[in-house]
C-alpha cells in the first residue's frame, strides 16, 4: 500500500500520558483546544466507547460553521485511540471518511503523541467485509475472477 498520502504528525507534550489522552476523550476538555487558531467552539460531543460517535462544530473566523464527526474504532487508555473523521457537507451528511490513529507514548512525565491520518484509503476500503475488492490488487483480481 502506498503511504505517500498518509498524514503523520508527531508532537511531544510536557504532560503525563493520562492527561493527554483524556484531553481527546473528555468532551469538556476537547472543546477547549480542538480546532485551528481563531476558530471558536460551538459544540463538542464525545461518546468515548468503541462504536460511539463524536461530533465537533466550530465557527471559522469568517463566520462559517464547520462540522466534523466520526466513530470510535479503538479505545485503549492511555495508549491508543482510533476514530473515523469526516467533515460534514451539511448537518445531515458527512463527506469523505478518513481514519485517524493516535498513539500516546510515555516519555517519563512527557508524552509523545503520533497522529496518523489516512486520507486516501476510505475506512470502508481498509477493513471492509462487504465489498472485498478495494483492499489490494490481489483481492481485486480475485474479485474479478470470482465476483462477477
Amino acid at each position: 500500500m502506498s503511504d505517500e498520502r498518509v498524514l503523520v504528525i508527531t508532537r511531544v507534550f510536557d504532560a503525563p500520558r493520562d492527561l493527554v489522552f483524556a484531553a481527546w476523550t473528555d468532551e469538556r476538555s476537547a472543546a477547549q483546544w480542538w480546532g485551528p487558531k481563531g476558530f471558536t467552539s460551538v459544540s463538542c460531543t464525545i461518546d468515548a466507547r468503541v462504536g460511539g460517535a463524536w461530533r465537533r462544530v466550530m465557527r471559522a473566523p469568517d463566520g462559517a460553521m464547520l462540522g466534523a464527526r466520526g466513530l470510535y474504532r479503538e479505545i485503549i487508555p492511555p495508549e491508543r485511540l482510533v476514530f473515523t473523521y469526516a467533515w460534514e457537507k451539511n448537518p445531515r451528511h458527512a463527506g469523505h471518511e478518513t481514519l485517524v490513529t493516535l498513539t500516546f507514548a510515555d516519555l517519563g512525565g512527557k508524552t509523545e503523541l503520533t497522529l496518523r491520518q489516512e486520507v486516501f484509503e476510505t475506512v470502508a476500503a481498509r477493513d471492509d467485509h462487504r465489498n472485498g475488492w478495494s483492499g489490494s490488487l490481489e483481492r481485486f483480481a480475485e474479485y474479478l475472477t470470482h465476483g462477477t
Binding site: 500500500m1 510536557d14 476538555s29 480542538w34 480546532g35 486516501f120 478495494s134 490488487l137 481485486f140
Partner: protein, 112 residues
C-alpha cells in the same frame, strides 16, 4: 460542491488499480489496451476503472482519435493534495492549542 468533488477524487484514488493507472499515465498518455497490459483483468474491467477516474476528473480522454488515448488531468490531484495540506494545518494548529491547554491545566490545581 467542493466537498463533493473531493469526495469523488478520494473515492477514485482509494483503489490500488486506479492509483497504478494514474502512475502509468504520469509518464504519458496511453490507450486502454496499453493500460490494461500490466493488470490481470479484462479490457471492460479496465474501462470501468477509467470511467471512475474520468468522472472524478482525474483523467481526460481524447475525443477525436478512435482509440481515445487517456491522459492525466492534474487539477483534481492538485486539489486533493491541497486538501491533505489543509488537514495538516488543521491538526498542527489544534495541537498547538492542545499544548497551551495542557500547560494551563497543569498550572491550576483544579481543571475547570
Amino acid at each position: 460542491m467542493l466537498a463533493d468533488s473531493l469526495s469523488a477524487t478520494f473515492s477514485a484514488l482509494a483503489d490500488p488499480t486506479r492509483r497504478a493507472i494514474l502512475a502509468r499515465l504520469s509518464v504519458g498518455e496511453a490507450s486502454v489496451t496499453e493500460l490494461a497490459g500490466p493488470f490481470p483483468m479484462s479490457l471492460p474491467a479496465v474501462s470501468k476503472h477509467l470511467k471512475v477516474l474520468e468522472r472524478a476528473g482525474l483523467i481526460a480522454r481524447g475525443r477525436s482519435a478512435q482509440w481515445r488515448p487517456c491522459r492525466l488531468a492534474p487539477e483534481a490531484l492538485k486539489e486533493a493534495t491541497e486538501w491533505l495540506d489543509a488537514y495538516r494545518r488543521f491538526w498542527d494548529e489544534s495541537l498547538d492549542n492542545l499544548a497551551d491547554y495542557l500547560k494551563r491545566l497543569q498550572s491550576q490545581d483544579k481543571p475547570r
